[in-house]
Amino acid sequence: MEKVVCQTEVEIKNADGLHMRPAMQFVDIANRFDCDITVSNTENTVDGKSIMQMSMLAATCGTKLHIKAEGPDAGEAVEALRELVEDKMFDEPPPGQKKG
């Protein structure tokens, strides 16, 4: 079977960074796909489907993460995760726009 590998770099844009709630959102979306998903910062590579491992990345605002997916639906997975991190910003405000 052909192996599909897809990867991209994303930047954390919400002020509070990848704390537990965003990490949960990430893992929720990652688990909708069959492909294997890993996420790396400069130090660690972790399983994008594990909340414990994702929390360990502790990515602050401005941090760049490398998302890599391997499997039949890798392309869709990477795009969905990129959208969550960069476009939706985990439904949180960027720096300087603190809510209430």
């Binding site: 002020a15 509070d16 960074g17 990848l18 704390h19 537990m20 709630r21 949960m24 594990s50 909340i51 414990m52 491992q53 929390s55 360990m56 990345l57 502790a58 990515a59 602050t60 605002c61």
Partner: protein, 158 residues
């Protein structure tokens, strides 16, 4: 960041009295207040905020661990307390299993990066099966302090 930078060892509760989530949260916040890390007058508000956060999404990550936490304007530094339950607490954990080891954190409202660094430290170790086993087996506040100090000294071993 090291455990010793934010965990208040004097607030450790080696055997929690409460048998439910909200009671455990209140016990640990009260313990932090007794050591002076939290102002007594802020406790009610902090307990309420942590419970509200749990209701929005459980911090029971599975494997017997929960990490209830909140950002609160009353603290300037991250403060944390460790609690252990013999009977196991229903935290509505992801794996639906009871929680035996609880690490409760209160982080400053205006310093998200410090909060993330503390969480990174906590999860770096909690994802190690050996560390989870040791913390589960610890029976006294001293044993928990020793374990966390050992994790600070040899982060790769635990």
């Amino acid at each position: 960041m090291k455990f010793a930078d934010f965990v208040c060892f004097e607030a450790t509760i080696a055997e929690l009295n409460s048998g439910d989530r909200d009671g455990v949260i209140a016990e640990l916040v009260a313990a932090l207040s007794r050591t002076g890390r939290l102002r007594k007058t802020d406790c009610t508000d902090i307990v309420k905020a942590i419970i509200k956060r749990e209701q929005e999404g459980s911090t029971g990550m599975g494997k017997g661990i929960a990490v209830p936490h909140i950002k609160h304007a009353s603290v300037k530094q991250v403060v944390a307390a460790v609690g252990k339950s013999k009977i196991g607490i229903d935290f509505s954990a992801l794996d639906k299993q009871p929680v035996f080891s609880i690490i409760l954190l209160v982080s400053p409202a205006d310093n998200p990066d410090r909060h993330l660094q503390a969480m990174e430290k906590v999860f770096r170790h909690l994802q190690q099966e050996r560390f989870r086993k040791f913390i589960r087996q610890a029976q006294t506040a001293e044993q928990i302090e020793d374990l966390l100090n050992e994790a600070d000294d040899n982060p790769s071993l635990l």
